[in-house]
Amino acid sequence: MLIRLSGGRVIDPANGRDGIGDIWIRDDRIVEPAAGETPDMVYDVTGKIVMAGAIDIHSHIAGGNVNTARLLLPENHRAHVARPAATPLSTAGWSTFETGCRYAAMGYTTVIEPAVPPHLALHSHLELADIPIIDKGTLSVLGNDDFLLSLIRDGAGPAAIADYVGATLNASKGIGVKCINAGAAMAFKHNVRSFNLDDVVPAYNLSSRAIVEALQQAVMDLGIPHPLHLHTNNLGIGGNVETALATIAAARGKPLHLAHLQFYSYGKEGKRGFSSAAAELAEAVNANANVTVDVGQVMFRQTVTISMDVLRQFNAMGTASPKKSVIYDGDANGGGIVPFNYRSNNFYNAVQWASGLELFLLINDPMRVFFSTDHPNGAPYTTYPDLFALIMSREARASWLADLPQAAVEMTTLPSLTREYSFYDIAMMTRVAPSKLLGLRDRGHLSPGALADVAIYHDDPDRAAMFRFAHLVFKDGDLVIRDGRVTHYRFGRALKVSPTYDSAIDRRLSTYYDDVYGISPDLFKVPVEALGRENPFGEVACGR
């Protein structure tokens, strides 16, 4: 099948391209213009915006905690539209099927689920297998597990730690490693109620900092493209910008991804002791080229916070709305589900909203700041179109700002910020940068040879409308969205890495599991056949 997308404005920053032109697709790949050949299909996309498919690096779309949140909040996701004949369950509110459809409708073709406890990997992958259209990937969570903490405490050395991380990634079929409030879930099991970067996990005499450093090194040693993905300490607390700055310093120039930075951008100014310190934080990010961040923007609406930072979630139970939370002390990890309603007339929520936008606008390099709402923690991914509109237009921001409490606005620099993202910046942030960060060389750009993941938008001055419903979306060269509606299902793959490591660690782990848990680690395996889809996995190359 040869397809020609004719006459659109092609925005492909990986190739320095922003201009009118054609894109050619043969089967599942982008190809050079096929001179002398008649395409099987020609789409006239004159006046439209043509980009590679977008990639979301941080969105909680699947797994045990997400599913608990669904079951906790039946009142939040009532469906009200009958399903179209060809796409079953696509309108079932918050179903895996709906997730794939709505992401694809926005022009997203790859989404990473960033919090998979290794023992719950099969459940996560089963859910991902039921998300249609898009490709997926998972980050395996380490940093609160006895085996790792013991290795570090006992001075086992970086090679042993890397072997363990490699074995865990292989078994759980992840694309990278996440660390969530290192040591805090373990400390919480010892009844610790707050946990800072240099606080020490009881019984291990190990600081959060030491755990992060060890994991950061292991990820580098294994040659995993994605740097350690870190959810650091003290999320959501006034004055926690100090923690974020200390975490950036603790990276010591080595690659580190800081997740949902907005939730760490708070100072202690003002009579409420809560202000935006985003400007200071953005400056630190600008000055440290080894650090990448995603924003975790807050948007005003009802949502639910789903986090493996169980200590933080326990402390947030009092803010639950509606008033019900789940606190989970899991194997070597934890989790908390706390429903939350961000309100525009709430001082704290307004400061949070503004500080996220400040980070977008004050971090200079769109290759190092990633577009996220930490779905659904800051807001559901379905608010992305509104957020695109906000970062693209100071006018749009001004009209939102006018509705916020003045006291909150005074705690931020947002009204003074005039920057507006261009389409080129947006494509850089949501296409080029994620492909580089995750090591996905086959996507994020429109070079010949790339996977034919292409999103084509109407150039609608209402940017939110434009990004909510793409005109056309191709996944692997297959037209899946036409004018915002899914045409048919296809099922993508979960992208994973297979780092090499010394398999002696597998035998050691077998002995350890038998000794400690009385079971085999094989019980937590993720067999390909169990997922019920053809080719459910795709491989991402490792290498230093």
């Binding site: 669904r70 079951l71 539209v81 179903s95 719950l120 099969l122 789940v326 002390d329 194997d331 993720v526």
Partner: protein, 365 residues
């Protein structure tokens, strides 16, 4: 392995075609039983959606006791592994815990101190409302109580832990004074119950007690799931539709209503006019009272009160074939290898075959 249409042996294709015909001409087809592995449950829920029918599980009632408390007021929960390695204080509640979870005592290793308990002292174990002999076997302090008395007992315990005055009741106070002290002294305590043997009010009291205890120390819960992979099916239902079982698609989108879509009520009221009964784990037959025509996808020894229109025997997940199911020992979905692999058909493949014979719509799985 029997394949029968109206009691007579038939080829699988013909049986599937007849099942499809029967289901498709129904006004409200019901998928019930639903005791299947994850693949079977996914296929069955997708079929219900395509048919615009409703689905329920034979043990939904038990799952919903835990879920209803959770979605009303929240939940503290942990895993068997964490109890095994960490719990210094264990409170077992209810009479049928060991029936619901035969491996419990060995899996939780209650006779040994918890490996990661810093004091490494013998565990403090209590059993409220135990069966005769159970508490002794578990090395537990026995607090006798009939099931009906458990909510009151737990309410008094909760009041006592919270430092509130309780109505003086020597009968209850004597039993609970020591327990209240021990709970508050725990470092990482756990309460274990099975929704098969305790009611919603008991579970609500357990969760309230956990909330109160966590103000000062760490305490959490370990729910024991019911049979028929009901917990696993509930998970698949959650990600596929957003809701647990007792969900219907009559309007073209999922609606969840624990009364409206209860299988026996749907049949007995005449609302459901054709049913499919799935029972791959045991030889369970439907318990509805009205004689609705039905398709049975069950294990070979199942005895029915009245014969199904179509009967297709299937193997048992994890025995006849590899399967994904909820594993209580792990508190999550796990891949189980066939213990004695056979070529018996699987629920998922039978449903897919039926699905292929439908003329309207398109299936999800």
């Amino acid at each position: 392995m029997k394949i029968l249409v109206d009691g007579a042996a038939a080829p699988l294709e013909a049986a599937a075609a007849e099942a499809a015909r029967l289901l498709e001409q129904a006004k409200l087809p019901l998928i019930a039983g639903l005791a299947a592995d994850i693949a079977g449950a996914r296929a069955a829920i997708a079929l219900a959606e395509r048919l615009r029918g409703a689905y329920d599980h034979m043990y939904s009632e038990f799952l919903l006791r835990d879920l209803d408390v959770m979605r009303q007021s929240g939940q503290f929960v942990t895993t068997a592994n964490e109890v095994r390695v960490r719990a210094d204080c264990v409170v077992l509640i209810g009479a049928k815990l060991k029936t619901a979870w035969p491996d419990m005592l060995a899996r939780l290793d209650l006779s040994n101190p918890a490996r990661f308990d810093e004091a490494h002292a013998p565990r403090k174990i209590f059993w409220l409302g135990a069966n005769p002999g159970d508490a002794e076997e578990a090395g537990a302090v026995k607090i006798a109580a009939p099931s009906s008395e458990l909510p009151i007992l737990l309410a008094a315990l909760r009041a006592s832990v919270a430092g509130r005055k309780t109505r003086p009741d020597a009968h209850i106070d004597g039993k609970l004074a020591d327990l209240a002290v021990q709970l508050q002294a725990a470092r990482f305590g756990v309460i274990v119950w099975s929704s098969e043997s305790v009611g919603r009010l008991t579970i609500e009291m357990i969760q309230g007690l956990l909330l109160d205890l966590n103000k000062k120390t760490r305490f959490t819960g370990l729910p024991v799931g019911a049979a028929g992979n009901v917990t696993g099916v509930g998970q698949a239902s959650g990600w596929m539709t957003g809701f647990p079982m007792r969900t219907g698609f009559g309007r073209g989108y999922p609606e969840h209503d624990t009364w409206r879509f209860e299988a026996n009520r749907l049949v007995d009221s005449g609302e459901a006019d054709v049913a499919m009964w799935i029972s791959a784990y045991g030889n369970e037959a439907p318990r509805w009272k009205r004689e609705v025509p039905y398709v049975a996808i069950t294990t070979p020894e199942t005895q029915f009160a009245y014969p199904p229109k179509v009967r297709i025997d299937v193997g048992t997940p994890g025995v006849d074939h590899d399967a994904v199911e909820y594993v209580q020992n792990l508190m999550t979905l796990a891949a189980t290898d066939a213990r004695s692999a056979s070529d018996a058909p699987q629920v998922a493949s039978v449903i897919r075959l039926i699905d292929e014979h439908l003329t309207k719509g398109e299936g999800a799985c």
